[in-house]
């Protein structure tokens, strides 16, 4: 006997029999296979979805080239219906620079994590921003090296428990977190800088708007654009999946504050 029997359960194994309109499909067109091997409650697939939906909605699918860093999200690099290049740790902004300069008509974005972008290759993204390269960089920030077991990164907030800061990060021993979006917003070559999150439906929608605005900035040729997305990593945070959205709001988002930090298009208006 299944749990469905004898209960007030609506069948969910098939589309409804009554006239109805499909308002949201399993996956967007540009993600080939929905199933992936990321952990339960991970925020990265939601951020990937927002980015790929924006690519499709802006009509740049045929000229899109994604450049992936190395992290859990790299699982999506061979699962997308757009061209993807794999960069070495932290080098995605430089590879994206080369792609954009060689093929100026291409639409180029990178996907990196905080470990990849801020620890392994911080100079790459700073110089790419300073040069005002017309590419978009997306950083998925969960404050841990998720792929290698949940160790501290340069964005880990003070007090955050990680594999090698079991009592929580403290400034005396481990230094202070780097607020990358704030740093990039202060560089003249950047045109659009924002920080979103995927811990609730409101923030997912907000993040999608930010990614869309960053992509539009590139299409308009305004220069470097950057969106940081705070994502849940319940495995690396050693907490239950249901606690992760609130943990993100109370800890990561309290330091890495959500919002648009720079938008030269709006400043000009």
């Amino acid at each position: 006997m299944t749990e469905h029997e004898g209960r007030n359960v609506v069948p969910t194994d098939r589309p409804p029999e009554q006239p109805a309109t499909l308002v949201r499909d399993f996956t967007p067109d540009l993600i080939d296979v929905g199933t992936h091997h990321l952990c339960p409650g991970c925020g990265e697939p939601v951020a990937m979805r927002a980015a790929l939906e924006a690519v499709a909605e802006l009509g740049v699918v045929q000229r899109t080239i994604g450049v992936f860093g190395i992290g859990c999200y790299t699982a999506f690099s061979n699962n997308l219906d757009v061209e993807v290049l794999q960069a070495l740790h932290g080098r995605a902004p430089s590879l994206a620079t080369g792609v954009k300069r060689a093929k100026p008509a291409a639409f180029v974005f990178t996907v990196q994590g905080d470990g990849d972008m801020v620890n392994e290759g911080l100079q790459e993204v700073i110089h790419t921003a300073a040069r005002g390269e017309n590419v978009t960089c997306i950083m998925l920030n969960n404050g841990v090296f998720g792929e290698t077991g949940g160790h501290m990164t340069a964005t880990t907030v003070i007090g955050q428990r990680t594999k090698n800061t079991l009592e929580g990060r403290n400034a005396e021993d481990h230094g202070h977190p780097i607020l990358l979006a704030n740093m990039l917003a202060g560089i003249d070559g950047s045109a659009y800088v924002a920080r979103g999150a995927v811990n609730n439906a409101h923030n997912v929608a907000l993040t999608k708007q930010m990614i869309t605005a960053a992509f539009e900035s590139q299409i308009a040729g305004r220069g470097f654009s950057f969106v940081e997305v705070l994502t849940m990593c319940p495995t690396g945070w050693f907490i239950d999946t249901t606690e992760a959205p609130e943990y993100l709001a109370d800890n990561l988002a309290a330091v890495h504050q959500i919002g648009v930090l720079k938008d030269v298009a709006r400043a000009d208006a």
């Binding site: 749990e3 409804p16 006239p19 109805a20 991970c42 439906a201 999946t241 959205p245």
Partner: protein
């Protein structure tokens, strides 16, 4: 046992075997019509959500689901589903 009619504006199709049982949809669902199975597991060994009458088709479950488990439909005309209490 009494009967109650629940206004239902939408519904979802659930890809049960793609679910990893993270529970995020349960907390996020505004009308609270999703519940996790307590002992039934999918092919991957995870509990998965089941739907009760009263879905509004708001899409929030699909927006926050990391495993793209939900396909959301909105009824062209709201329907009433009978609930036994």
């Amino acid at each position: 046992m009494s009967e109650k009619r629940v206004l239902t504006r939408g519904t979802v199709v659930i890809d049960v075997d793609a679910c990893k049982g993270c529970d995020l949809c349960i907390d996020a669902c505004p009308p609270g019509v999703l519940t996790m199975t307590s002992h039934e597991l999918n092919a991957r060994g995870y509990a998965f959500p089941i739907l009760s009458p009263g879905c509004t088709g708001c899409r929030i479950c699909a927006q926050i689901c990391p495993d793209f488990v939900f396909q959301v439909y909105k009824y062209d005309e709201p329907i009433e589903l009978v609930v036994n209490e």
